[in-house]
């Protein structure tokens, strides 16, 4: 069991160390994830979670939307 864990650890450790192209790809992945995380935090608040404290309040808000339709909320211009 321990030897299996050691082998698996060595697989990942040696694999990452020996990467050439992979290092560049991982850099791109990490930069992309950081940028996306920053964008999400700055610009993508969960509207219902941010503006309503409980599930009851969220449900009430959505129900209000459902029973009072916007005047122009339909499809597209043709």
């Amino acid at each position: 069991m321990i030897s299996q864990v050691t082998r698996i650890t060595a697989l990942y450790r040696d694999g990452f160390r020996s990467m050439v192209l992979g290092r560049l790809l991982w850099k791109i992945i990490l930069v992309k994830l950081l940028i996306m995380y920053a964008l999400v935090k700055l610009f993508f608040p969960n509207y219902l979670r941010t503006n309503f404290a409980t599930d009851q309040a969220r449900a009430a808000h959505v129900m209000t939307t459902l029973i009072k339709p916007h005047s122009n909320n339909v499809g597209l211009q043709h």
């Binding site: 060595a10 964008l39 509207y47 219902l48 449900a59 909320n73 597209l76």
Partner: protein, 507 residues
Amino acid sequence: MDFLSTVPWARAQFALTAMYHWIFVPLTLGLSFLVAFFESIYVKTGNEEWKKITRFWMTLFGINFAIGVATGIIMEFEFGTNWSNYSWMVGDIFGAPLAVEGIFAFFIEATFFAVMFFGWTRVSKGFHLFSTWMVAVGSNLSALWILIANGWMQFPTGMAFNPDKARFEMQNIWDIFLSPVALSKFVHATSSSFIVSALFVVGISALFLLQGRHLKAAKRSMAVAAVFGLVASLFVIINGDESAYSVAQRQPMKLAAMEGLFDGATRAPLTAIGIINPLKNVGDAGPDFLASVKVPGLLSLLATRQIDGFVPGINDLAYGNPEHKVVGAKQRIANGTLAVKDLARYKETKAKGDTQGATQALASFKTHQNDLGYGYLETPEAAVPPVAATFYSFHLMVILGTLFPLLFLVVLVRLYKGDIEKCTLLNKAAFVALFFGYIASQAGWVLAEVGRQPWAIQDLLPVGVAVTPIASGNVQLTFFIFLVLFSVLLAAEIGIMTRQIKIGPEA
């Protein structure tokens, strides 16, 4: 706040992120299997040439996978920000397949990915091959769950609306997981992705032949990819027939728009190609097409499985056709309006403690609930998707999809005859076809999602009600930020891929 302009920007942003994500997914789905095939041949024959081929395409697979990683997750965040009403209402149903995708399929991919790339000298040939196959299986399983979620949007089933929580609640998980629309979409999306990846391999191999290098590896890769692409094309054609029937039954307006069929007919013709009259509007009498080539009776056959079957047109579905028992959007708007009023009455009577009134309101709601979404449309014309975009994306996809198996066939014939290196025109066409594969693939999703409009959930929730009531400025800003970010990432991928292709499989 200008909620009106939020809707198109929210849609544009989702379309941008989805289309960008879909640049990477088809190649992941198909190239993973092709790599598994190449490696299987290597293990079976012991020929080191096949190992070089496997590692070359595996490297390109890895590049595509890495750049594509996390492009899909942005859409999940967009649900919460731009489509909050939608995400609240369908979270109980939508969340399950997305969660399963993340936990189950992704972990399979991630685990065996490491063995696939790091394990060439550390594990047995058999286990390494198994890992490569598991990456392919895991990738395609991811597609299954996502398409179950999208399939539910197109054909909502297995749920009931809870008016106290203002959300749809799952009633039967198997109705959702085994939805005929979901399964059909899965077969179609994966097999068409296999075609894209086959075109990719054939195209790059053709480039090698044109450049006079890596000839053996190129021909071997082409042979496997062309067979793969041809078999996948067969699935697409068979599944295409099933898809047409399914759309006709469950999304007849989408079918009518796909075909530019404004007035329904028995023995309805299939429009093979055409130019839609840009001045044509729903309900007016002008010609549907400026020019068209039609196949008599074929649309009736595909849509109803009877040559004399009636296929409703856009006008029938908008205004109704009592002769052919078509209930139009006009009537459904009346039904839906009642459903919305019943919901309001239910809320009001419940708040007052009027149990009997609430029960009556709920009972009345349930008789009209299937048309709930229509209660938010102002006119029957609002139930019609953009006809031109739906028509052209469908026909572009089909025309290109018809040409691809011909290309695979010709490639296989020339490989068999042993003179493919000399076929300059064929190799140039094969290289160009690589890009048309992506165009056809994107056209398919444009059709699926534009043809679904105005619905976020078919017949139950239009996009205008699904959207978050926020100012459009935020959505516009993030749209352009993503446009720049995605363009940079795409340029990076093309650059890295091009460099690896220049190195080639023999290095």
